[in-house]
């Protein structure tokens, strides 16, 4: 285990004109650590996630990432090409709506294989074998490999999106409501799968969710956001069992039990 964080975020803010997206967010993320970001609708969770994954540029603040060779790179000073390279190789991004993260008109196998080709894999047989392996890891039968995701259920699409993201062995995965929009029973299965993969692969992840049970199950640390700001952060079980901020108390009390 290394004794350096993977990501350092300092005073990050994003304004949309005069409207606050997120404001003054500071935290470190360590290798293998899962951080949950919770808060009500409009509190800035997606804005923060998009800034961190460089899909959006912040108005102010910094974020540095420790790349594989151990160097620290400032995310917002990298060239567009460098950023795209990071996103393709070292990061994953799981969207709430699988259609945003998949190519709906190419086969499931190609959705997974494409990412491998993007990191330089050229051997067709190997790519296909890896794709089959990953489909089975996310519990999709091999005989569905040539189907397009259009023909998949919501839960299957989400599992395919996860396979597409993890196949390149990323070190950091961003997830925006990965279980949102799914039936409760499908959610539970997906959550088990995610939990297993995150633990087995030792992934670091930032998971945006409005579901405190998801946060409890997946994350070790948690940040609670309101009106663009972090109102409370700490160990997930501490925040949920001994919430200190008025807003966190409201959030925790408004659900039955987590």
């Amino acid at each position: 285990m290394t004794d350096e964080p993977l990501l350092r975020v300092s005073a990050l803010s994003k304004f949309y004109g005069s409207r606050v997206g997120c404001e003054n967010v500071t935290f470190d993320l360590w290798p293998g650590e899962v951080l949950a970001v919770v808060g009500e609708s409009g509190s800035g969770k997606t804005t923060l996630l998009n800034c961190l994954s460089t899909r959006l540029l912040p108005s102010s603040g910094t974020a540095s990432y420790r790349v594989r060779d151990g160097q620290w790179r400032e995310l917002y000073r990298m060239s567009e090409a460098e950023r795209r390279f990071l996103m393709r190789t070292d990061w994953g991004f799981v969207h709430q709506n699988p259609a945003d993260g998949l190519r709906m008109t190419v086969s499931a196998g190609a959705n997974v294989g494409e990412r491998l080709m993007a990191v330089g894999d050229r051997h067709y047989g190997k790519i296909r074998a890896t794709a089959v392996d990953w489909l089975s890891r996310v519990e999709i039968d091999e005989d569905r490999i040539d189907d397009e995701p259009r023909a998949f259920s919501g839960g299957m699409r989400q599992r395919l999106q996860i396979a597409r993201n993890l196949v390149t062995g990323p070190r950091l995965v961003f997830m925006d409501e990965p279980t949102g929009g799914l039936d409760v029973s499908v959610q539970a299965r997906l959550l088990d799968l995610l939990r297993g993969l995150v633990t087995d692969l030792g992934l670091a992840a930032i998971v945006v969710t409005h579901d405190l049970a998801v946060a409890r199950l997946l994350s070790q640390r948690m940040m609670v956001m309101k009106d663009g700001r972090v109102v409370e952060s700490g160990l997930t079980d501490r925040v949920l069992d001994d919430p200190r901020a008025p807003y966190t108390q409201l959030l925790v009390s408004s659900i039955l039990q987590v």
């Binding site: 939990r195 199950l217 070790q220 160990l235 501490r238 069992d241 001994d242 901020a245 008025p246 409201l250």
Partner: protein
């Protein structure tokens, strides 16, 4: 004699923002220490703050004031002010905790629930499962249940899984919150034996036991929590 846990002047209150910000003082001036190889028991009536103290020692409740000094990896750490990452490391290596109820994780078998803390500490999965089997057998959990997730188990069965999970590692400090509450007499005796073995191995134990027979069998001394009643100190 080594003293791996020293608590000084710890204070805890809850501020209920949803109830007009009323503050509920729970404990203040909590000071004690636990030596290696002894089992101390927190005593006092319901609501005195026994569980709250245990939860602060595990980093599950925040600490308002005071220090919780823990011997961790050849150094000393103040758990009251430690970062989440440090608290997690302390839980992995130094402090074990048996809660009153098992928090179940869907689809994970009882055997793996028990083995998990060892795997987290880097032990081989099969070796960890072997230890888990022997503990579950010792606690008389029927073998046909081992491969099933504990969510559907009875209260006593779940609690035995929870106890096995807490006792499987060699944490130098072990916290126990009424581990025997939902057990029958035979299994209570097993827990008493397990605690005796931990003491012999030099573990520092701090527990809460409502059952007087169990308490008498394991306690080297009782720490009276009413002495730390928050109102008393404030007055």
């Amino acid at each position: 004699m080594a003293t791996p846990l020293v608590v000084s002047d710890v204070e805890k209150s809850f501020t209920m923002h949803l109830r007009d910000g009323v503050t509920l003082p729970v404990v203040a001036g909590v000071s004690f220490s636990i030596r290696a190889g002894e089992c101390a028991v927190l005593g006092g009536p319901s609501g005195a703050g026994k569980s709250s103290i245990l939860k602060m020692l595990y980093g599950n409740y925040a600490v308002d004031e005071g220090q919780i000094i823990v011997q961790h990896e050849n150094g000393l750490i103040d758990l009251a002010s430690a970062s989440p990452r440090t608290v997690l490391a302390v839980r992995r290596r130094t402090i074990g905790y048996v809660s009153q109820f098992l928090r179940t994780v869907p689809r994970v078998s009882a055997l793996d629930v028990v083995a998990e803390p060892l795997v987290e500490r880097g032990e081989d999965r099969e070796a960890a499962r072997a230890k888990a089997r022997s503990l579950l057998a010792q606690l008389n959990l029927p073998e046909k249940l081992w491969a099933l997730p504990p969510a559907t188990f009875s209260g006593g069965e779940q609690q035995r899984v929870n106890i096995a999970r807490g006792f499987i590692t060699e944490h130098p400090i072990l916290l126990l919150d009424e581990p025997t509450a939902s057990l029958d007499a035979k299994n209570r005796d097993v827990v008493v034996e397990l605690i005796a073995a931990k003491k012999a191995a030099g573990v520092a134990l701090l527990g809460i036991f409502h059952d007087l027979d169990v308490r008498d069998a394991v306690a080297d001394r009782v720490i009276d929590v009413t002495a730390f009643a928050a109102g008393k100190v404030a007055a």
